[in-house]
Symmetry: C2
Subunit: 241 residues, 2 copies
């Protein structure tokens, strides 16, 4: 799809805007956190007070990351495994069923767009940018969320990838047919959405999500382009031109 | 990537050969069946003799298909849920841990190529066909299997899709830049690999897998192109020209 001609001004620098999904377009991490708080509460009834249930879950998740990858199904399986392990089997199957149900409630949760996303995506589409959605995680669940978001028709293409690294972004950029200099990635993770794109010569901008900010901040020296809200994106892109 | 010129003969009909993965390139269903047999054996110790554990699992899987999609993680979650449900919670957490471990063993299982696949894929690549892999299921696990198969470099591209229907195939064919008449899909499922491709004007051929044959046979009138072994594919494609 060709970009609509610039209106009056010269050729625009950016032709393709790629957006991350979880915690960039819609809320996600808050639901993981809420579910984990309830999990810890439930499991702690069966452990000695000094046992760190969150740390036990983190260890199980880390051990399983290679085989489960990202997403709610793997998270749920790791919660069940951690609950049995950290309580030495003292937790009951009724609680296991509750953990399964909490994972299903996450999967079934309606898509909850972040403030400003709807208007911003519409503004970008109207301005003639080609829009891609580039997201990591569970293919089936991401497709359900994209369909439920009401945004799908604004996007030229959805790319659901297993890892967000330079190799992946090189393929994504190549598939659009534009040079990296005409490609801009937008997302809440400096590590996944910004650094690998800058590495291959593309543009990228960080839009922090309140929950992950502290964690991601550690990954860079504070000099990457950052916006306080996605609503600032159209003006920022226009300035790049 | 342009097709290498035909050797002597006229223009070849098929330029792109797309292959399904599970039960077309490597064994998959046999591992599901084996795991389910052990599951049924384990759970049946806690149920009355007249209870049909397989039917209970099938009901839970069907109920969860919309939220879990295809793949081993969803299968494992449904096994745990069915085990608790069908035993009214009488099964213990030790058995739940065994079910989790059986799912992990499936995920960790080495890729086991079907006889003839290695030679056939090499022959197709050497003959100048552009090869795609088009598979359904869990993105993370499929990428692990493709990487472990030793076949990845033969393929121009891997397409991991949520559903194999006419809409999806139309997009896949469009992305290759060839006409549907120059595209051929190969797979073990008449419903997923053959009928939707024929529907959009492409070529398709059924290579049945022994375990799924009976089930899939019911989906068509017996007139779709069928090969007994994937080893017959190069000759069959050459005859289409």
């Amino acid at each position: 799809m060709p970009v609509s001609p610039g209106r009056g001004a010269g050729r625009r620098a950016i032709e393709v805007v790629a957006l991350d999904a979880d915690d960039t377009l819609w809320h996600s991490e808050v639901y993981f956190e809420r579910t984990q708080r309830r999990f810890t509460e439930l499991v702690s009834r069966y452990t000695a007070p000094e046992v760190d249930v969150d740390a036990a879950l983190a260890a199980v998740e880390h051990r399983n990351l290679h085989r489960y990858g990202y997403g709610i199904k793997g998270f749920t399986l790791s919660m069940v495994e951690a609950a049995i392990e950290v309580t030495d089997g003292a937790i009951g199957t009724e609680e296991v069923a509750q953990i399964l149900a909490s994972g299903q409630a996450m999967l079934d949760h309606p898509v909850d767009l972040i403030d400003g996303v709807d208007e911003t995506v519409a503004a970008l589409a109207d301005a003639g940018y080609r829009l891609l959605l580039v997201t990591k995680g569970d293919l089936h669940h991401q497709e359900l969320k994209i369909a439920a978001s009401g945004l799908a028709e604004r996007f030229e293409r959805l790319e659901i990838v297993a890892e967000k690294d330079a190799v992946t972004y090189r393929k994504v950029v190549a598939s659009t047919g534009v040079a990296p200099q005409a490609f801009c990635m937008v997302g809440n993770s400096v590590r996944s959405d910004v650094l690998p794109v800058l590495e291959i010569g593309g543009h990228a901008v960080h839009v922090p999500y309140h929950v992950t900010w502290a964690h991601e901040h550690a990954d860079h020296d504070g000099t990457v382009p950052t916006l306080e809200s996605i609503a600032e994106l159209p003006a920022w892109l226009a300035e790049l031109a």
